[in-house]
Structures are given as C-alpha cells and as structure tokens.
Symmetry: C2
Subunit: 692 residues, 2 copies
Amino acid sequence: MDLNKLLKPRTVAIVGASEKAGFGGDTTRNYLKFSKNLDNVFFVNPGRDTIFGRPAYHTLADIPADVDLVILCTPQKTIISLLEQAAQKNCGGAVIFASGYSEVGAEGKALQEELVEKANSLGIAVMGPNCAGFANFINGIFAFAFLVEERDRSGNIGMVSQSGQIVLGGLDSRTMGFSHVISSGNSCNVKVEDYLEFLVDDEDTKVVAAYIEGVTKPDKLIKTFRKAAIKKKPIVILKTGKSAKSQQLAASHTGSLSGADKVLRALFRRYGVIEANDLEELMGLATAFSWLDKLPKGERCVFMNVSGGEAGVMADLAEEYGIELAEYKPETKAYLQTLVPDYGSVNNPFDMTAGIGYNTPVMVKAMEAISRDENVDVICIAYTITPEVWDDTITHMVEAASIAKQNPDMKPVVWLPFIEHTRDQESADALKQAGVPLLPSGRYGCDALKKILTFSTTEFEDMEAAIPETRKTKTEGLSEYESLCFLEKHGVTIPPQAVAATAEEAVVAAKTLGYPLSVKIHSRDIQHKSDVGGVKLGIRNETELKKAFEDIMESCSKKAPDAVLKGVLLKPMLKPGTEMIIGVNNDKDFGPMIMIGMGGVFVELFKDVQLAPAPLSRKQALKMIHSLKSYPLLNGYRGSEKCDVEALAKLLVQISEMAAECKETVKELDINPVFVTPEGAAIADALLIKYS
Amino acid sequence: MDLNKLLKPRTVAIVGASEKAGFGGDTTRNYLKFSKNLDNVFFVNPGRDTIFGRPAYHTLADIPADVDLVILCTPQKTIISLLEQAAQKNCGGAVIFASGYSEVGAEGKALQEELVEKANSLGIAVMGPNCAGFANFINGIFAFAFLVEERDRSGNIGMVSQSGQIVLGGLDSRTMGFSHVISSGNSCNVKVEDYLEFLVDDEDTKVVAAYIEGVTKPDKLIKTFRKAAIKKKPIVILKTGKSAKSQQLAASHTGSLSGADKVLRALFRRYGVIEANDLEELMGLATAFSWLDKLPKGERCVFMNVSGGEAGVMADLAEEYGIELAEYKPETKAYLQTLVPDYGSVNNPFDMTAGIGYNTPVMVKAMEAISRDENVDVICIAYTITPEVWDDTITHMVEAASIAKQNPDMKPVVWLPFIEHTRDQESADALKQAGVPLLPSGRYGCDALKKILTFSTTEFEDMEAAIPETRKTKTEGLSEYESLCFLEKHGVTIPPQAVAATAEEAVVAAKTLGYPLSVKIHSRDIQHKSDVGGVKLGIRNETELKKAFEDIMESCSKKAPDAVLKGVLLKPMLKPGTEMIIGVNNDKDFGPMIMIGMGGVFVELFKDVQLAPAPLSRKQALKMIHSLKSYPLLNGYRGSEKCDVEALAKLLVQISEMAAECKETVKELDINPVFVTPEGAAIADALLIKYS
C-alpha cells in the first residue's frame, strides 16, 4: 500500500474540526499551530461555518478539491461512512483516532476487520484506529491528537510507536528533533513494519526509533532491518513483552500479540538493531545517534572528568558496561602532564583538574592531543550540566567541546552527565550544534555509549533470511535413525550408524561399524528409550550384541506394547567429551532459529544459551560459542586439553544450513548431546520433528 | 575527638577571607549569603581592614573573642602556624581547603602526618585537608569553598563525601534538602567514619548519604552501621573501588585505599546499608528516603499509569527489578472497573485511562480503594513530569496524590517518571510536601523502589561483630588432620578420623573407624596430596590398608623428599553427595568473612558464591544457601531427592561461630568439599591457616 497520500499529503481534511477541547479541537489547534502550509487544509464540521476564523465545510463532499488525507476526529460509528465519502474525493490516507476496535474483545475485532476490508477496497491507507496520529516535520504536516508545547521539533529522528503516549513522550523531549513521528495505534491496514520501512527508506531520517508491541509482517520487518543494516542507519527499538504481564497488557492495549521475544532479540543482534529496554534508553539512544556527526572507528574511550571522585565512579561504570579504557601513547600522556598542575596525574578516566577543566583553550589543546592519539577512538566528557548554569566549569567545557569539534579530524565526542533533572537548554543546544551527543545520565549514558560503540564497530554479515512461505501445523516425529539420516541427507556430518531388524542383521552391520557399539531401540513411537529398557551401551562382541538385541526387543515389547518396533539402531560408541546441546526451532514468523548451549545445568539453571536465526556463517557460529558463559569449559579449563571448537562451529553451520534449506519442512530439531573432544564434535543423539 | 566545635561552632573565623574569586573569596561570599547568623563570624586577612563592608582582622590573634572554628582558605605552607594561632583562641575545629598532602606522594604524606600530629596535640578536629568544607543547615553555618546557586537547601539528608565535587552535585540537586553536607577530603584526624557516626546520631538527620573511597576505622564503621540498623535510619553509600582502575584513582585522589570491596558489600547486606552504584542512585535514594513519610510494610506494589504502552514498559521493568505486583482483592478490582470507561480494563500495572488520570476526585477515589486493599503495600504512580507543565494530566495526578496523602491511613506512595530532564519544580515541590518521593527515571527509579522495599521489610538480626583486635602477619598452615581437630575443638562437627604413624597403628584405628576407608598422607608440608600419590580411596580391608600405607609412604618419600611425613590420616569413606565449598577469610579490617558456594565450575566460572561476616544465625546461613544460583541443585533438582540443607546451614553456623571465636588466630579456612546428601552434610577435606 502506498503511504504517500497518508504521510505526505498535498491536501488534508480534518473531520470533526472544532474549537472545543477533545480530539477534534486539539487536532485543529495543533494543525493551525504547527503545520507549514494552511492553504490546503479543510475543516469539516456539520454544525459550523467557520472554525478559528477559517471556513468550515459541513461535509467532505462540500470541499471544492481532492483530499489526499482525512483526519477523522469523530467516533467509531461514523468511520465507515466517512471513509466512503473520502474515497469520492480521491482520498488515499486516513488517520483514525477513534477507539473501540481490536483492543476491546471480539466485537471490536469484528469492527476492525470490517474497517480493514472497507479501507482496502477503497484504497485508503489507514493510520490507527485507536492512534494519536502523526507529524511530518519535513513537509510540515501536523496531524496529532494531543496538545504539545509550542516549539520547533524538526530534526532527523523518525519515530514510530504503537503507543500514542510514547510518541507524546518523544515530542516532550527537549533534545530530540524529528523528521516524522507516527502513532500507529491498532495498525489496521498499515502496519508498524510498513512505517519502519518508510522511515528506513526516507532520506530525511537519520535514525529510526520504534516502540513495538507485536509483529505482524515478519518478512517485511526482516527486509527493513536488512536495508537499514546495509545503509548502516541505526534503528533503536523498545519492544515490550519480556514479562508475561506486559504480554497480557499489550493484548488489551492495541490487540497485539507480543511474539517470541527471544527470537526477536536474536534478529536484532543479527541485523545490528539496537535494543532499548525502556523509554529513557529509547529516547537517549535516538538522540545520541541523531546528534553524532560521525561514528567511532573503534571502541577505545577516554573519559575526561573534573573530579577525582567522579573519575572513580566513571571507572567503575565503564568496567560494568564493558567500555574499553584507551591507553594513551607515551607522548600523549607526557603532553597532558604539562597541562595539569603538580598535584594532578594523567589517568583514564582523566581528572583534568581546574588546570584544564576551567580553561577553554587548554581544554581544547587537551582534546586535540587525545584525539590525535591513535590508541583513542572516542572521547567522553563526563560532567553534570545543572538546570541553570552558574558554574563556569560547564561553560568552559561546553565551549571547549564546541571549538574542538570544529576541527574536522576531531574524533567523536560525547557528553555524559552524572545526575539528571539537569539540562541547561543553552548548553544542550551548543553541544547539539557541535555534534556532541548529550547522553542520558550515569548508567543510562554508559549503556548508550556501549551500544553506540557496538553498533559502530560491528560489521554486518548479510546472510539470506530463511522465512518460511507456508504455515503448516500437522507434524510427525522421526526416530533417532530417521532424524540422523535426514540430517545426513541435508549435509550434516553424522557418525556411522545402521539399523537392523533382526539379531543377525545386527551382527552383519556390526562388522562394518566395529565394536564397541551402542544399541538402541529403533521406533518412532518411543521417545524415552532408556525408560523402556531400549538402550544398551558398550557392546563389545557378537554374543553381547545378540543378547542386547533380544533384551531390548523383549523389554520394549513389554513396556511399550503399542509401539511399532522396527529393530535396533547400532552406532560405534563415541569418545565421551564435553556435552553440548544444539536445537532448531522453526519460529512461525521468523523461520528456523538455532540454539546452542552446554548440556545439563548450564542450559537449565544458568540459562546459558545462544540463539540466532539460521543460516549461520562460520564467524557467526564461533561468536555464538564464544558468547557462552560456559565457553571456558571448552577452551582448556584448568589445564585440560582444548576442545575442537572449530569442529563444533562447523557442525553448527551445517545444521543451520540444513534448517534454512528445510524451512518449510523441519519444525524442530533437538540434538542432545553433541560430544565435543579435542579431536572433533560428534552428534550422539537427535530428534527431528517434521511438518507432515 | 569531639566534633561539636567543628560542625556546630558558636564562633567562626574565615582566614584568607576576600572579595576576589578563589577559595577565600568564594567561601566568604557563600558564608555571607547562606549563613543564618553573621554576628559571630570574623574575617581574617592581613591586607584588609574591611571585606564586603564588614570589619576584617589582620591576624587571628586580633579577634576579640574565642573562635570555635577556623576556616583556612590559605595555602598549605601557612597551615601549621595558623593552627597554632587558632589554638590560642580555644579553637576546636578547622576546615582546611589546601591540597598538597597525602594525595601527592611521599612528601605530601609526610606533611599530612605532621598536620595530624599538630592538630591532635592542639585538640583541633580538622576537616580536610584537600576538602571543600561543609554546611550545617540546622544551625546555619555555611563553610563551603565552591559557589552555589542561591536557594534554600535545608532538609533532613546528612551527606558526607570524600569528593568535594560530589557534595557539590548534591547541593546542585533541586530535590535534595540537607541537615548537613560534609566534604571530608583527605580525612586528617577526623575520618569519614566519624562523620557517619555524627550523622547517624544526629536527630535532625533522617537519612545519611555517603560517598566513600576507603575505610580507616572499621570498628567505628560497624558500630555506626549497627546503630543505624537498630534505629532503622537509612544509610545510602556509594563506594568506588569495584574496578582496579577506580582503586588506583582513589589512591591518587584522596590517598585512600579502597579496601576489600566484596567484604564491604557483605557488611552492607548484614546491616541493611543501601548501596548506590553511581551518583544518580546515591542522590535518588537519599531523596526518596528523605521525602517518604512512612516505610512500606510489605513489598506488594500497584503501578498506576495513563498509557497502555507505558504500563507494558512498567511491567517489564518491575519484573526485571524483582518488584512484586500486588494482586487486587476482587472488590477492589470491581470498584476500579466502575471508574474506567468501557474500553479500559483493571490490571496491575493499571492503565487508568483518561477516566481516572484526567480527573482529580476520581483518581483520589481510585488511590483510596487501592490503599484500602490489604494485598497492597505501596502505590507507584508512573508518569513523566515535563520541564514545564502544559499537560493537564500531570496537574490532575499531582493534585490527586497530594489530596490522597492527606488521609493518614494512605499507604506509601511514590512517583516514577519514565524520561529525564523533566522536572517541573512546582509539581516536585507539591509531591515533596505530600510525602510522595519523586524517584529518578525508569530503571533508576525501579532500582530505588526495590531497594526501599528491601530496606523497609528486612528485619535486622543483631549479631555481635567479630573484629580482631590484633594484627598479625606470620602464619602457619595446618595439616588436614590438624585442621579438622582444630575445627572439632571449636565446636564444628567433623566425621570420625584417626592418624597412624605405622601400618600397624592404621590397622588398629581401622577397627574403630570401620571400612571402607580413605587413606591420605599426614603431613603439614604436602598440600596437594594426590599429586604425590598421597591418597588412596575405598580401602576395604586390612590387606588393602597395609598396602595403601606402604604405597603412600613410599610414593610421598620419593615425590616430596623434603616433607616431614607423620604417617597417614584415616577416615571412613563418606557417602558422595553434592559438593559444596565453605571458606573463611579473616579480613584485616573487618574480621572473619564466611563464604559458601557449590564446588567446581559454579564457583569458578559463574562466581556463584555468597559472602557474609561471621558469626551467622541459622536464618542468615539459610539465606546464604538459598541465594546461590545453584541452590536448585540441592533442592530436588529434576526429581532427585532433596539434600539436607538444614544440616548444611548448621555446619555453616558452626564454622562461622568458630571463625568469630578464633578471630585473633584463624587467618584462612578452606573446606573443599563438603558433601551434602539427603541425610546430612559432612566435611570431606579442610585446610586451615593460623596466625602463629
């Protein structure tokens, strides 16, 4: 659906325009106050001839022109008829504030379905219902239902939110400047993914900020993420639904289902989407990327303080957030030492003392020296800016940062305050002008800085996404043997195996496989083989093998009388090693996700797993393995031999490629365990569930 | 040392008083602007007859009265002589701004020692050197070296900081009100612990906020913590020194050594001291406790929002910070449902909608109903307050909170904004007036709320502290047998054991102990017994025992030729169980600390340990065990039998009592492992290091 008439209309009609308080009046007042062009807006109100001194039309039909966009401030029951009237005016977009749709149960859902059908048939792109509208600061269109303070908000952040209040939060910010803000509401026939794509494509938008409750167009979401990753345009997303409670709230708020949270996070990591965990992070990160004139080339940071105490606090925070402290080159250190008084010493965090912090030109020199140091990638000035400035230090330091940034070679500089409710607007404006992001305070600021550094230095690996085209529900579970055969057929290395329907066949097979062997029941119907006496390990010769065959068949016949027994599965005993678990889960929206963790309590108790979308590159597979907290156990823990992590990564890649290739057929795969030894990695057991 | 003349002087002299910028001038201006009584202040400056129109004296001697406190704004080299002159005036306190002491290496350290000696001999309590001074808002004394904005800052927070800048940060806050602020600087003969004690004792101080870099009077610190715990007066502490870098910075900043960080944190937990991790937390927590009119009686919270999106964000944050969401009683829920429009639903977090949030009297009713609900302990209104209010909702909600709090039965109410740089002063003042703390934003606010709830509901168990009186350094390591005997002698239950110098003695001992046995070399000189063939397990009879004896003695003689071998240690084989580690480390400042963790990778890789000062009560011991992430492995993991956690706790208590009793003699104890089974807990190995 084309969004141009909705988001960049040439003509606009406000239906329900009014001078009174409420959606109609507030929208009218907002439009008059903030829109650039008032020649092409038409007010519609059956009971008025003028509104705020401008002509009003009684119906849409009365308007003497085509209308690209209608802003409907009227109640739910009027909407369908108004859309029909709007269509007569060649309308292509509608903003619907009315609520009473999918957020209020079955009846509302039906009304929303009717609305979607009508809008689609009329070719009208609908924002809402149950939304707060939008503002396009580039073309000067302000179609927003809540009154906001009067000031310029134009800038380069494109924001879309399923919550109107959160858009309002953005508009309230004194530091954010926007290209577009969009409150998508219940997302009728235009979804949050459509807006995201619009903003990623939009040349006036430098950074995208989004609050989302649920996903309905996974393929478009991924396509949009990929586009942004290739452009290196930052997308910052706050996604609710971590807790069961917030999932329930999202359902009753905009009728959204939150979707599998861990899966989304894995996708964020893949595409370099920056996750915000609350509003402060969302706004802070968007502002930081918006102001930043260039991205840091590495992660090594120098903190500049004007207090020994604050330098100490900064050091602790930097360590907590994993921010690398740059090591000065000796000549930098020697030069800086000449700038501080005798009692000062040059560290990082660097307590500049009054010698530098209270003296603009000296501080510029210090910043230039630090920026020239090839061991430094970014400078962070850490000092609190009070609500009104009466402390000269702030003035000196803001001035110094501004002057230093005039040098085009100056590396990226950010500013981190320690305490909030503290923003002198003049200082903030000067820093914005200079391209020095004013981060949120303390821990928020450190979190933002770390995320900026990670975004800036992570290279995007463009793996083709594997989103299934079909949605099947009927499934069948394969036996271990069948599962392994399936894997082998799709390129996954598996250890030798054979099945035997009789003891004699087993003996023949054993000649090829070699002893000692593991012998397990071969049946699709038995999942927990040990529980029914279906497993014998360490079988050393023909005699033992024959007995094992008979014992297993007898025990399983007795203990699982309904199971179809197809004989036994024979495999040479694997050399035991560190036990890993690899799993595949085919997400209904985003396709196969691959999981790895260490067996036992590491996965279960410490939740030490890594998840990523399939397929994986070798580098991505290694990164997943290295990211496990239990990784040291693979890597020569306490003097033991190092396990073959490359082999494990290779296996992970093979499995991920299988999962991507079979995205329409494989529902789940559980490989538990994989034995990893210094010599390699071998699958010891596998259970695959296919769509049938 | 008596601090009254220092902190509550009746007469004050400012030496180096001036009209110029700098310490002297700024202190003078501050004093004139902020002090209540200007009759008893004397300006001293050899070159001036008047300063700001008031008489100035050329020397201290010229002052026609006694001087309780001198504020020395002059350089380091003048200080000793000035103290001597001050003593002539019966001076008992001095504030010294000058730097160049212990923060600048050996020479400065010597100067500081000289200063301490002089001050002690003259009976003068010194604040500083290298400090920013103090303000006593109760008696109206403002002896502070940095200019601050003009406004009333009086209140009930007592703040002490080793960093002057951090005191300044507090004074800059628009929400904090103080009884006292103290910048202790290098803490010459009055230490940060002395100020802490002063503030805990002080009736005008409701909450104590402290920034500390190092501890020098551990006994006084503990005594002060204990006093505060008994009074339930909150102490909020920001302690740097988590990272190696900040430890290094503290040393060069005020000459402090950061001290064992984990030990301090264990003490904080014991005494209910609230830890802040950065400045925002320090200021936010202090403000919250300062404004709160009463402490919550439980931890169950209702969040009141005016946005479905923000309610979702709130739910995720509450879960992340472990804040319990109250479950309404049915009648509360039914009543609230009557207050919201059709499209609203009553949840927690509760999206009140415009029906409640935009309507003061209705919101008061909602708050009263929620407060009456016996399932609710605290109400948190979560809404952002913009810098200037043009959104009526804020006005309505602040009003509602204020009115609701007039009811003396109203439960504690706090306010949590989502986004910072957002404080309308009028709203903030109204909330303060109402006893509704305005928390810092988002995650900071949640962290503060959780800490308030924990502080409010945790009962203090007054265990006698075990701080050693002597400091010894020479140590000796005991053998396993000696270690176990030592433990037994001091009340710790140990399994049966015997030593045997010959094979024959071993056979005799075995008759009492019973087979199977473990046999280990008995020698102080061999720590890693297995490495030298000094361990044989599962010895079943006399023949095996004799052979084991000979093998062990032979192998150890060969592989540890220098060790004195005293024979073997015999113990009945323990039933294997879950392996725990218990350790004691006698901190040089704070005495014996006891540690517990699960053996193997849990301690080493996941750092899953708990630490607490000895001795422990049963309840404290159980809490430590329950707090381990690996605790589920003791508690019937995956259908296994539950281990005897009570027995483990009992052992932990015994060991902690031994450690407290032997605080002058035991340096370290390493019990690894303790086997915990469903039947009990038994020490399998122990190594004790004593002071000799």
